[in-house]
């Protein structure tokens, strides 16, 4: 795709963050805020697209909506975890408030955080920054 080729090498140096939500406006808002914060957002409107994008190039962090038609957020998490290199990648789950959710750290999803909707985009970016902070990489090693 021409547009992809023309992004230039500078774009590829940025930290890739996958965001998967069936609500386009959330993709736009989170994408915009990620871009302003210096990340490269990779947007997917459903689980299949997310898996396809991840197969091309693994992201440093994933933001995933819990309630999606077709593949649910939990199912997507489990499948992402099966990808080589994504076993320990931080995953942030978005969810409608008070929806029954696995808690961070529990279950197969191994979530880093759960963020209730409506959420503050600023707060989400801060959370992502803290999850990607260098000290964390040290811990993982």
């Amino acid at each position: 795709m021409l547009c992809t080729d023309l992004r230039g090498s500078a774009m590829n140096d940025k930290t890739r963050i996958l965001i998967c939500d069936d609500e386009t406006h959330i993709l736009h808002v989170v994408g915009l805020n990620l871009r302003s914060a210096g990340y490269e957002p990779v947007l997917a409107a459903n689980g299949e697209q997310a898996l396809e994008a991840v197969a091309q190039s693994p992201p440093a962090l994933c933001v995933i909506d819990h309630q999606m038609p077709g593949m649910t957020g939990s199912e997507l998490c489990r499948r992402l975890r099966a990808f080589p290199g994504l076993e320990a990648t931080p995953i942030v789950m978005l969810t409608a408030a008070d929806f029954r959710m696995p808690r961070p750290g529990d279950g197969d999803e191994q979530l880093s955080a759960v963020v209730g909707k409506p959420f503050s985009p600023k707060a989400l970016i801060e959370l992502i920054q803290s999850l990607l902070a260098p000290s964390r990489i040290g811990e993982d090693q």
Binding site: C3, H28, G31, V42, L43, Q49, P118, S120, P121
Partner: protein, 547 residues
């Protein structure tokens, strides 16, 4: 994959795409300097390059530069058979985002007319080329007619229109996403506030946090909140003020609240004041404008939300006002709820006190007894390190602990002499009667243990259930101690009050038999001065009542 394209690069991609498409169609793109000199920017043949970089073309172009400026996508023919389709100047080279405006770009095409014309002959003479050989070497395949050039010019024009249309859409999408993002912040804040409104947190904390959060989400330099001072139902909140952020003149920002409440008492809608020099001269040096949002419920002014300036130094806008207005609505609802809660609380306590007085009135000797037991119980609960909420509930339980005496005949309650066994049995009924009276009041359910068990004894010889030790509910143990103390400290029909040291001695002697030993130890160390004050007050009130 239908990935959503979020790339918003001031149109660079679309302009570049156009150039790519022109090149893919087989036409070189040329860059033309202000003096008319042209240079090929896309791959082209030797022959085309020679024509593009020729002095003849430069000379011809120099005279027709203005045609590029007014007619985008115009078809130019500076030399017969040389066609140039002007491309939009700013979007052609993504790496060079701001080329000088004087630089133009164009798609370059050659026609048969040029090959056959005088111009080629001149070009060959000047370059010392063989005219015939050059004609042979020209790429005949790529030659076009004037009509074809015109059609291509149209096609490129449409492409360009589509591209710039997409660019406008992308820019719109970008600004919509930004606005949406702000709305998300707003929504998230309102959600958070309405959520914390339902929690039982102190009002001061709620307002402090609300101001801080609003300050963070809004673009205002600082936010202030002033609660009116003339609304008794707001109790201790009256006249309180909160400030978040850093006003340029903090003192003046603080003084502003009470003034706004007075000066803008009639304000119904949020207002932006752009000239603040007369209102607050010191602040006007830092903030261009001031926002005032009245907090009202049912038309009654409860407070004023206000704030100054924008962090970017601009004037405040209706968007800033809108955010503060929606938050102010939540704050006003919180204030109203606070008042309603206080009303309900006042009514509840008033009813309890009335009920208590009714019991105490049955027996003039016990005037004020319930209130003293309640107060002492609360003091004891606090001294025993129980939390404040429990201490409050113990107070209420103490207030109603004798409510069951309503069901005991007055003749028995007020009897001067020794009670018969039967009379004593009827006295012993009062805890159960009391528990029965308040059982159906949901708000008082947790007070029942104090009512039912305040006559139990640590050694199990009390009533009604003969419970022992820690089986006696906490409320019962605390109130039982305070009840016995007050009974011994005041006159009764059958005896006079004991001296205070005697009373304490009795409690010490009975710790572990009648009283919870640990609670008794705490009790013996209480400060009884407030208790004696109450005794004196109750005596005075009783004197007035009987006079």
């Amino acid at each position: 994959m239908t990935r959503i394209d979020l790339h918003i690069h001031s149109g660079g991609v679309s302009g570049r795409r156009l150039v790519e498409r022109v090149a893919a169609l087989g036409f070189p793109v040329v860059r033309i300097d202000p003096d008319g000199h042209a240079k090929a920017t896309a791959p082209c043949s030797w022959f085309e390059r020679t024509v593009i970089e020729s002095a003849d073309l430069a000379r011809a172009l120099r005279g027709s530069m203005e045609q590029f400026d007014n007619k985008n996508q115009a078809l130019l023919q500076p030399i017969p058979g040389v066609y140039l389709v002007a491309l939009p100047p700013r979007y052609t080279e993504p790496n060079d985002l701001t080329p000088p405006v004087e630089t133009r770009y164009a798609a370059f095409m050659l026609g048969q007319e040029f090959i056959d014309g005088e111009a080629l002959r001149r070009l060959c003479d000047r370059a010392q080329l063989d005219w015939d050989a050059t004609r042979q070497r020209a790429d005949i395949q790529r030659l076009i007619t004037a009509a074809e050039a015109q059609r291509l010019s149209h096609a490129l024009h449409w492409m360009q229109e589509d591209a710039s249309g997409r660019r406008v859409q992308r820019e719109e999408l970008h600004s919509l996403s930004e606005e949406l993002s702000n709305n998300y912040e707003e929504l998230s804040l309102i959600y958070k506030l309405s959520h914390s409104m339902t929690l039982n947190q102190p009002a001061e904390e709620f307002f402090r946090e609300a101001c801080a959060e609003l300050h963070e989400v809004s673009s205002l330099n600082w936010i202030g909140l002033e609660i009116v001072g003339n609304q008794p139902r707001l109790k201790e909140l009256q006249g309180q003020s909160y400030l978040a952020g850093r006003p340029g003149a903090p003192g003046e920002a603080e003084r502003l609240g009470p003034r706004l409440v007075l000066d803008y008492a009639d304000l119904r809608e949020p207002a932006i004041i752009d000239d603040t020099t007369s209102l607050c001269p010191e602040l006007s040096a830092h903030d261009k404008s001031l926002l005032i949002v009245p907090l009202r419920r049912d038309g009654v002014l409860l407070g004023m939300l206000f704030g100054g300036g924008r962090r970017d130094g601009e004037y405040l806008t209706s968007i800033d006002a809108k955010l503060c207005a929606s938050i102010s609505n939540n704050l006003a609802i919180f204030l109203e709820n606070f008042m309603l809660f206080e009303d309900a609380q006042t009514l509840f306590l008033g009813t309890l006190h009335a009920l208590t007085r009714a019991i105490d009135a049955k027996d003039s000797y016990t005037f004020g007894h319930s209130e003293r037991v309640a107060a002492l119980s609360k003091t004891l609960a606090r001294a025993a390190d129980l939390d404040e909420a429990t201490a409050e509930r113990i107070y209420l339980s103490g207030l109603v602990h004798d409510v069951g005496k309503i069901g005991v005949p007055e003749a028995v309650l007020c009897k001067a002499g020794r009670l018969t066994d039967q009379e004593f049995e009827s006295i012993k009924m009062h805890p159960a009667i009391g528990a029965g009276i308040i059982r159906d009041i949901r708000q008082m359910e947790d007070l029942i243990p104090g009512v039912l068990h305040h006559h139990e004894r640590w050694d199990g010889r009390g009533y009604p259930h003969r419970l022992t030790g820690l089986d006696i509910p906490l409320f019962g143990r605390v109130i039982g101690l305070a009840d016995a103390f007050d009974a011994m400290s005041s006159n009764r029909t059958y005896r006079s009050a004991l001296e205070h040291p005697r009373v304490l001695e009795e409690i010490r002697l009975n710790r572990g038999t009648q009283f919870d030993p640990e609670l008794a130890d705490v009790f013996l160390n209480l400060d009884f001065e407030p208790y004696f004050d109450m005794i004196r007050r109750h005596r005075a009130e009783k004197g007035l009542g009987s006079a």
